[in-house]
């Protein structure tokens, strides 16, 4: 291509060309995450869980928010990554990073195989099939309790990360930074993908499938690719979730896991990656506050979740981050 051919001149083109650039405000969540470690040492377990769930929610955002594939069974991948890492450690493979990588692989394989069937369907059928996959794996894990440990779970140990940093289930020092590091990594992968042409084409699928067929996109293949990517990231999140606790139960496959992560994502806002950060944090802290103030009876928390959902749908249909959209637009219009 000659230089003349690649010259763009419009504002819309300029906007498209710089969409992937980092903005200063994107440092904010990471600075907060670093500050939390030092300011609230007593809450590191909770904070670590938030970091892992954010990674999990980001993986869900790739398929729900970008490709428009709504899933009620994303815990299938989270749980598969988790069990891969846990069972390997239990069997004596205690090196955490390779176990985590294998967790990503098994979750990705599950995504590749299940996606072949699930992604042929649409809307309600698709939703039901994702849910079915999650429930099948949960029941399977429950039946095979001599392997999975069932409700009681399995305790296991991992060796030190890179042979240098041992896990610390008491003060969550290493554990926190382990989750933090993989959140950074997973986020960067997701952010790269959504700003690449591949990610743009996912948005096209979400906006209008018929048109995507008519512009020559192999829609199903592309959905399957993002499904595998999302499954792998979810698998990593699941592996970290159990590695930092040194314990696994079949809870990782529970429907509640799939349902809650979807609620968190919708609460924060879909199709924007940062919605995962806000949604998971607000939801988890709210859950904790409810339990502290009202007690741990399930009805209380379920009531609060219900109210939060109703309020979100009524006042922030595009999620908590979506509330700021009009403000940002007005600001941008005033400062060209």
């Amino acid at each position: 291509m000659t230089a003349a051919a690649v010259r763009t001149n419009g504002a819309a083109a300029a906007k498209l060309l710089r969409a992937h650039r980092f903005r200063a405000i994107e440092l904010l969540p990471w600075l907060i995450a670093i500050a939390v470690y030092f300011l609230f040492p007593g809450y590191r377990l909770l904070a670590t869980q938030i970091l892992v769930l954010i990674l999990f929610a980001i993986s869900l955002d790739l398929i729900v928010g970008y490709a428009g594939i709504v899933s009620l069974g994303h815990a299938a991948f989270f749980g598969t990554g988790a069990y891969t890492a846990a069972l390997l450690a239990d069997a004596g493979w205690q090196e955490p990073l390779s176990a985590l990588a294998l967790g990503a692989v098994t979750a990705g394989l599950l995504g590749w195989v299940s996606g072949w069937i699930i992604l042929r369907t649409r809307e309600l059928t698709l939703l039901m099939l994702t849910m079915a996959l999650g429930i099948i794996l949960y029941e399977l894990a429950k039946d095979l309790d001599d392997i999975t440990g069932g409700f009681d779970g399995i305790n296991f140990e991992n060796s030190a990360i890179l042979g240098l940093f041992p896990f610390d289930v008491l003060y969550y020092t290493t554990n926190y930074w382990y989750a933090f590091a993989f959140l950074v990594l997973g986020f960067l992968v997701a952010r790269t993908v959504v700003h690449a042409p591949f990610g743009r084409s996912l948005v096209g699928i979400r906006e209008n499938v018929r048109r995507m067929h008519a512009i020559g996109t192999p829609v199903q293949q592309r959905m399957r690719h993002v499904y595998v990517i999302a499954a792998m990231i979810a698998g990593v999140a699941g592996a970290i979730w159990v590695q930092v606790q040194g314990n696994i139960t079949i809870g990782v496959y529970e429907f509640e896991m799939s349902g809650n992560i979807l609620i968190m994502l919708i609460l924060g806002g879909t199709g924007r990656l940062y919605g995962a950060f806000i949604g998971v944090t607000v939801f988890t802290i709210l859950e904790n506050l409810t339990e502290t103030v009202l007690g741990t009876d399930p009805p209380y928390w379920e009531l609060v979740v219900g109210i939060v959902l109703v309020l979100t749908v009524l006042f922030a249909p595009r999620g908590l981050l979506g509330v700021f959209d009009p403000l940002i637009r007005r600001y941008r219009e005033r400062t060209p």
Partner: protein
């Protein structure tokens, strides 16, 4: 040009489509020469859009064949036919409504150039794709609207995006499904001018209700009635055809 077998770029043989007992395409033989300007007309419900869907592969035929460059393309999915140069527009705007005009075209250009599977390099590091999208936006005179989302545009301008998307795919065969449908009379000349300016080498089939447009544009006309070809030929022949006048032209033109 006449229907010499073998020279057609797009052809159908005995194309049939039934939905249960309902026959929507009946034994359609049709041929589109390279560079053709061919109109398909017919009353509402004649099966014109179904015919387009059968050609593009959006619907599988019950029987019969669609041939592109003389080869049966039954085994090619809709998206694969697009890669072979068979492109359509939609009767009802089928666009990415939440995206800007430029992004609509960008997605299409990225797909045609084969970069849409790229996972790592961001859109911003491929200015040649964006520049090509911008060129197409300017070609249909939507430069001032490039940054606006589709749902912010009046319907007539949205129609232009339909055409720009089709052009972005560099079609060899272009199927225009009522390109000026829903466009206010005052704006329809923009659409028609855009169509008139299409490269001569593209074979174009246009479905249209407006007889002024049909007779101005078409070098050949095929009349569909109840899913079957009633008549096919040059415009003057069709205009003189008694059967066509009876079922179709008679309604509006006396």
């Amino acid at each position: 040009m006449t229907d010499v077998p073998g020279t057609a770029v797009l052809e159908t043989k005995g194309l049939c489509k039934n939905f249960g007992a309902l026959v929507v395409a009946k034994d359609i033989d049709f041929a589109l020469e390279p560079g053709a300007r061919h109109a398909v007309i017919g009353p509402n419900g004649a099966g014109k859009t179904t015919f387009v869907n059968l050609l593009t592969g959006a619907l599988p035929p019950t029987s019969g064949a669609v041939l592109l460059d003389g080869r049966d393309i039954a085994g090619l999915a809709e998206h694969e036919r697009v890669k072979h140069g068979l492109v359509r527009t939609f009767q009802i705007n089928t666009l990415f409504n939440g995206l800007t005009v430029l992004e609509n075209i960008y997605l299409t250009v990225a797909e045609r150039m084969g970069v849409a599977t790229g996972l790592f390099r961001p859109v911003g590091s491929r200015p040649e794709v964006v520049a090509e999208a911008e060129r197409l936006v300017e070609m249909v005179q939507l430069r001032d609207d490039a940054g606006r989302t589709i749902d912010e545009l009046p319907y007539g301008r949205q129609r232009l995006v339909e055409i720009a998307i089709a052009l972005a795919l560099e079609p060899r065969v272009l199927l225009l499904d009522e390109p000026s449908a829903g466009v206010p009379g005052a704006e329809s000349h923009i659409i028609l001018d855009a169509i008139a300016a299409l490269p001569a080498e593209i074979a174009i089939m246009i479905i249209e209700h407006d007889m002024d447009v049909v007779f101005r544009f078409a070098e050949r006309i095929t009349v569909l009635v109840s899913g079957a070809v009633l008549a096919s030929g040059p415009p003057d022949e069709i205009a003189a055809d008694e059967r066509v006048r009876a079922v179709y032209l008679g309604h509006g033109h006396g």
